[in-house]
């Protein structure tokens, strides 16, 4: 058993419905880095949370059908989500909100995990990201009525990228930010890189990691069907929804970890891999995205340069 190494330049706190971890290469930079990270996470929450009636995306939903000018941050978050949809041909689609809601994930997850005895309705395939009207280079957007957005994973990954960049700038040193296991590194990494333990569950991985890797920069994200699960009538569902069917993915891989140049790209690829299932290894290899896939039976497959070394215990 291992635990997170004691580090004077490290802290953890709750944010965005998950756990945020901040690590700095120079402990003297922890305070300014923390301020920067908290500021970014607060802005993301106020902007992108579909669970807050006062968030900007909730206001956008209420303005559906009419052109709206959105904040620079929401414009960026929308563009990131649309880009993810384009690059995955819709495997990751921000218009999946109605489907996620229909499955029961319509509140903060702490209120969802107890389950719902009512059966879920039929799956609602995503209407499609291309229905969002964005004027390139502007902050104008038109959300057609009837579309519910779920920026979920891409917004969290964007938050990690933005927070790491801001923290590294303000702290003047290398910084690693983790949001529920989606990580972004910015600035100069410590000698040997940032050591990251990988597992099905980002909390359990502290005590019992499957493997540990070092990264120097960019992002690393893990998507898993083993977390954020709840009972819906007589079946267990989870938060990873296939936009093509509107239903929870029937998993081939229980966990997919991907490294990329940014946390957004890592998260996009790891989510797409779960949705793709058996086709994921070829899809990732074609894109040269190093990944570690864990099948539902525990078999591990590594692709595109992810080290195939299994645990050193």
């Amino acid at each position: 058993m291992t635990t997170l190494a004691p580090a004077p330049g490290r802290l953890r706190f709750d944010a965005l419905g998950t756990t945020a971890v901040l690590v700095v290469a120079d402990p003297s930079g922890l305070a300014p880095a923390e301020r920067a990270v908290r500021r970014i996470l607060s802005e993301i929450d106020r902007t992108c949370s579909r669970f807050r009636a006062d968030s900007e995306i909730s206001r956008l939903h209420r303005r559906a059908g009419r052109p709206a000018a959105v904040s620079p941050l929401l414009a960026q978050a929308l563009d990131v989500a649309i880009r993810a949809a384009e690059l995955t041909d819709g495997l990751v689609d921000p218009t999946v909100g109605a489907a996620v809601r229909a499955l029961g994930y319509d509140r903060d997850f702490a209120l969802v995990r107890d389950g719902d005895p009512r059966p879920a309705g039929p799956g609602l395939p995503a209407p499609g990201w291309w229905r969002l009207r964005r004027e390139p280079g502007s902050r104008r957007v038109l959300l057609p009525r009837g579309i519910l957005l779920d920026l979920g994973s891409t917004a969290k990954a964007l938050a990690a990228d933005l927070a790491a960049a801001a923290a590294a700038r303000d702290a003047g040193c290398g910084v690693l930010v983790s949001l529920g296991g989606d990580l972004a590194a910015a600035g100069h990494a410590p000698l040997g890189g940032w050591r990251v333990a990988i597992g099905d569950d980002h909390l359990a991985a502290e005590r019992d990691p499957a493997v540990t890797v070092a990264i120097l920069a960019g992002g690393l994200a893990t998507s898993s069907t083993t977390r954020r699960r709840w009972r819906r009538a007589d079946r267990i569902v989870h938060h990873l929804v296939d936009p093509r069917t509107g239903d929870a993915v029937v998993p081939v891989w229980r966990t997919a970890s991907v490294a990329a140049a940014s946390c957004v790209d890592a998260n996009t690829a790891s989510t797409a891999a779960i949705v793709l299932g058996a086709a994921a290894p070829a899809w990732l290899a074609e894109r040269a995205m190093p990944a570690r896939l864990v099948a539902v039976d525990g078999r591990v497959l590594t692709v595109a340069g992810w080290p195939d070394q299994e645990p050193v215990r």
């Binding site: 291992t2 997170l4 190494a5 756990t19 052109p67 880009r83 384009e86 690059l87 995955t88 041909d89 819709g90 689609d93 109605a98 489907a99 039929p122 609602l124 395939p125 995503a126 499609g128 291309w130 229905r131 009207r133 004027e135 104008r140 038109l142 057609p144 009837g146 690693l176 989606d182 990251v196 333990a197 597992g199 569950d201 980002h202 991985a205 502290e206 990691p209 493997v211 540990t212 070092a214 990264i215 992002g219 893990t222 898993s224 083993t226 954020r228 509107g246 970890s257 490294a259 140049a261 996009t268 690829a269 793709l276 994921a280 899809w283 894109r287 190093p290 340069g305 080290p307 215990r313």
Partner: protein, 116 residues
């Protein structure tokens, strides 16, 4: 005179200005211009169906097999044509890391990555 003609124009689409460019190869430049103009007048919803690359299953938004047979249907049907795969070239690829992860022994980790 044969050659390519590119027509770039702006259209108003549900109140948002969009710039479209159409390139037409033709045996005569003037004929190409005429065809480009005709294409410009076709509303977005009439754009050709996608011939996107296969990704291991029915792409999202293409009437996939569903128990309900339905979808979360927006009331705004403008622009309902699924984008052509070639439109995804603005940022053509996900970006791999500059260096792949390096294996290290367990222990001493600074952070974890897993489901949340």
């Amino acid at each position: 005179m044969s050659g390519a003609h590119t027509s770039r124009f702006a259209v108003r689409d549900r109140g948002l200005r969009r710039v479209r460019a159409v390139t037409v190869w033709s045996a005569a430049g003037s004929a190409g211009l005429a065809v480009a103009t005709a294409i410009a007048l076709v509303p977005p919803a009439a754009a050709p169906a996608s011939d996107r690359a296969a990704t291991g299953g029915a792409p999202a938004g293409t009437a996939p097999p569903s128990p309900s047979g339905g979808r979360a249907a927006p009331d705004d049907e403008a622009g309902t044509a699924r984008p052509h795969a070639r439109r995804t070239t603005r940022t053509p690829r996900l970006r791999p890391p500059t260096t792949p992860p390096v294996p290290v022994g367990n222990g001493g980790q600074q952070a974890t990555s897993g489901g949340s």
